[in-house]
């Protein structure tokens, strides 16, 4: 029984990291109409940066957020600037960023080789720490990722609903021409949004590095999970993404207990297929998508 509870709880908790990885992807695809595979590269590279800062300079992995967030936010903005200049369509963005993804993966294998990279317990004391709820262990990296993901999701929702930036984003996605006629510069808004999405990727990368070993091919493994979460949550919906990430984490956790770790991806993809069949707009998405 305790194995059951433990697996389900860690499944739910991993929803935090899934949400952190997916929030930026959902914004990018849902609002900017850019299916940004380089988002996965940002997560991976941010993970490597975290590892390197700890390895070379003894930085606390949490402190890596201070470096990774601005670096990748700028990278995301630069990329969006290029997409705008090239007038990249939704489908072209998939092809273009797939190329970028391959390039970034090669860079990662050149710099950090194909070996597993993991911070040791001195560099990253958090990986062996847990908060205990009775006899259930909540590993600190996953717990922290979960808390941060919830804060980020609600923060983004507030940003979208209550601020001028959010109103500008919504106005642009409803009627681009009229929004422009009222002083909204679509390129500026898109760059800021892309910067935000990349910042979320950077945070996700830090938590990934804190909780597991890195290798260049790791990013491919995230495709299935992140796209399942993004589609289940509804494109562009922050709250939907958070809920979907927890559901996917839960499903993965249950499947692991029932059929062992190989069952988790199967169960997650079944959820994705069911979503596409019965509710393609996702749990919180608009029916028009």
């Amino acid at each position: 029984m305790s194995l059951w509870t433990q697996s389900i709880v860690s499944g739910l908790l991993s929803g935090g990291i899934y949400a952190m990885m997916s929030l930026g992807m959902s914004l990018s695809w849902g609002v900017l109409k850019i299916i940004n595979l380089a988002h996965f590269s940002f997560i991976l590279l941010s993970g490597y940066f975290t590892y390197q800062l700890a390895f070379s300079y003894g930085w606390d992995p949490f402190a890596a957020i201070l470096v990774c967030v601005p670096v990748f936010a700028l990278a995301g903005m630069a990329l969006q600037w290029a997409f705008d200049k090239l007038r990249v369509s939704e489908f072209e963005s998939l092809l273009l960023t797939f190329g970028l993804f391959i390039i970034f993966e090669s860079i990662a294998s050149t710099v950090w080789t194909a070996d597993f990279r993991r911070m040791d317990t001195v560099q990253n004391p958090y990986q062996s720490q847990s908060v205990w709820l009775g006899d259930i262990a909540l590993p600190v990296p996953q717990l922290a990722a979960f808390v941060v993901a919830v804060i980020v999701a609600f923060g983004t929702r507030y940003l979208m609903e209550k601020t001028d930036f959010g109103r500008a984003v919504r106005a642009l996605s409803q009627d681009r021409d009229v929004a422009r006629a009222f002083g909204i510069d679509p390129h500026r808004v898109a760059m800021r949004l892309a910067g935000l999405a990349a910042a979320f990727a950077a945070i996700a990368g830090v938590f990934i590095a804190m909780s597991r070993a890195l290798w260049p091919g790791l990013a491919v493994e995230w495709f299935g999970i992140v796209f399942s979460v993004v589609i289940l949550g509804g494109l562009g919906s922050t709250l939907g993404t958070l809920i979907a990430a927890v559901i996917i984490g839960f499903v993965g956790g249950v499947a692991t207990v029932v059929g062992g770790p190989p069952m988790a991806p199967l169960a997650i993809f079944l959820v994705l297929i069911a979503t596409l069949l019965f509710r393609p707009q996702g749990i919180m998405g608009r029916s028009s998508i």
Partner: protein
């Protein structure tokens, strides 16, 4: 205040405007009348920067705005009330108005402007938290005008504000336009509702097949035999 000189524009191969020239003086209400498909909406969109001009010049307050993107035209002091209202249907009335006052120059006085718009259109204040898409046509038109006023324009461009509205509401809207004009905003209104438009305006232009074919004082256009046969069926 606004000078349009020999503007040409179109879509792909199809030219829609040929050497259109017109002028709106300070504090004036000017109307452009003409049949469906004459290029009236194209002209509004070209002035607002939404649609590119192929040639010619548009000068606003002594400053050329021909090739400016729409958000810069807006900052320069021109606000649009687009054809068919085009309010942001999935946003609240308040959010629509706040978008109107988005640009930096207007943002500083957004609260005052909001109160002013609510005073002009009490209906909007009553429905502040409703989605714009749930409003009636007349209310959406009020919202579209209110949104434009939030941008603190010195020139208000209206594209067929009477379209699809009951006559009594059209009267209300035109009275409000008069009041806005009296407060110092110049108005350029494109209309098919010829009588109302010419009664509101001081001068008018007739646009047919992409060309200005007539320019006169509004009262003279109302008496013009060509205009009467073509648009009033008299």
């Amino acid at each position: 205040m606004l000078e349009v000189e020999s503007v040409r524009a179109g879509y792909g191969q199809a030219q829609a405007l040929w050497d259109v020239s017109l002028r709106v003086g300070d504090g004036e209400i000017v109307t452009i009348i003409g049949p469906n498909g004459a290029g009236k909406s194209t002209l509004v969109n070209v002035i607002a920067g939404i649609h590119p001009a192929w040639g010619g010049r548009i000068v606003f307050d002594g400053r050329e705005i021909t090739a400016l993107p729409p958000h810069r035209v807006c900052t320069a002091g021109v606000a649009v009330v687009p054809e068919g209202r085009q309010v942001f249907a999935d946003m609240t009335v308040t959010d629509n108005l706040l978008i109107g006052g988005y640009h930096r120059a207007a943002r500083a006085r957004r609260k005052e402007n909001y109160e002013r718009v609510c005073e002009i259109f009490p209906r909007l204040a009553e429905r502040a938290n409703q989605l714009a898409g749930s409003l009636s046509g007349g209310e959406q038109q009020m919202l579209a005008i209110g949104r434009a006023l939030m941008a603190e324009p010195r020139l208000l461009l209206l594209d067929e504000p009477s379209l699809g509205l009951a006559p009594v509401i059209v009267d209300t809207i035109f009275e409000i336009l008069q009041r806005i004009n009296a407060e110092g905003v110049s108005v350029l209104v494109v209309e098919q509702n010829v009588v109302e438009a010419l009664e509101l305006a001081s001068r008018g232009y007739v646009l047919e097949q992409g060309r200005i074919v007539k320019e006169a004082a509004a009262a003279d256009l109302l008496d013009d035999p060509d205009v009467r046969t073509a648009y009033l069926g008299v």
